[in-house]
Symmetry: C2
Subunit: 157 residues, 2 copies
């Protein structure tokens, strides 16, 4: 579990560095699919990761919109602010937490139950999925995307 979070954090940092050489108008440009843009995607990943970690612990959600964070430095600062809490949760993750249940009511009124193990993997897959979208938009910008390889990053313990 920790290895995949660590992978995501490395890849995300690689994307922040990738963004440094790209004009801000390209980072903010509205694009088709996903959440509609490069920086918006990075903001969304940070938001969703933190919000789920908070939700499992019964803490309040993040309700702010991208409009308040629409620069690379602001997204990085938000990421850094959230990281401490996420890191603490992931580092103390224990297989005994796998089967804890999280209950919520959807907007349509249905009650749903997910295990913490499902939610942790949902968060992992969520980031990788959106980063796959970034890799195509990178080509629109005319710049080689960040490597998605997990091997070769020194992630084993």
């Amino acid at each position: 579990m920790k290895m995949l979070f660590e992978y995501n954090w490395q890849v995300r940092n690689d994307w922040y560095r990738w963004c440094e050489d790209v004009p801000e108008e390209e980072l903010l440009k509205v694009r088709t699919g996903g959440v509609g843009g490069i920086l918006n995607t990075l903001f969304h990943i940070v938001d969703v990761e933190w919000s789920w970690i908070r939700a499992m612990q019964g803490k309040s959600d993040f309700q702010e919109k991208f409009e308040g964070y629409s620069s690379l430095s602001k997204v990085r600062a938000l990421d850094a602010a959230f990281k401490e809490e996420v890191l603490a949760f992931v580092e103390t993750w224990d297989p005994s937490l796998e089967d804890r249940l999280f209950k919520e009511q959807l907007e349509d009124g249905r009650d749903v139950v997910d295990s913490w193990g499902e939610i942790m993997r949902h968060v992992i897959a969520h980031e990788i999925h959106h980063v796959g979208q970034l890799s195509l938009w990178a080509r629109e910008v005319g710049k080689k995307p960040v490597s998605a390889n997990l091997i070769g990053r020194g992630l084993r313990g």
Copy 2:
């Protein structure tokens, strides 16, 4: 580990069903980024998953090209043929295998070592990343992409 493979297999099957309603020329159309097309991506995912599972066990690689599998039914048949071996490996996966080492020589002559735990997660992330690309190409086709959600699929044990 098994939950993320199971997630990938469900999502991949969802994409096969998604493809059923899409003209073959759209599935084969050359697109920018990734491996260059929708069906080519599904073939690549199947190829890479099986090849890594085989490689860890010291078995021969898959060397065939997409040109021999350029229809939805052929990719599905290849997937079905490979699935049995992949499923057996994943179902008997045990944490004691995490730290086994896999050594290979890259094309540039460098020797690299990866643990089986890294390789398994590399395979998982590889598929999710490429599926993220499919989700954008789906919009080019004008069709809503398959859901990437892991929660809500009944994946907990």
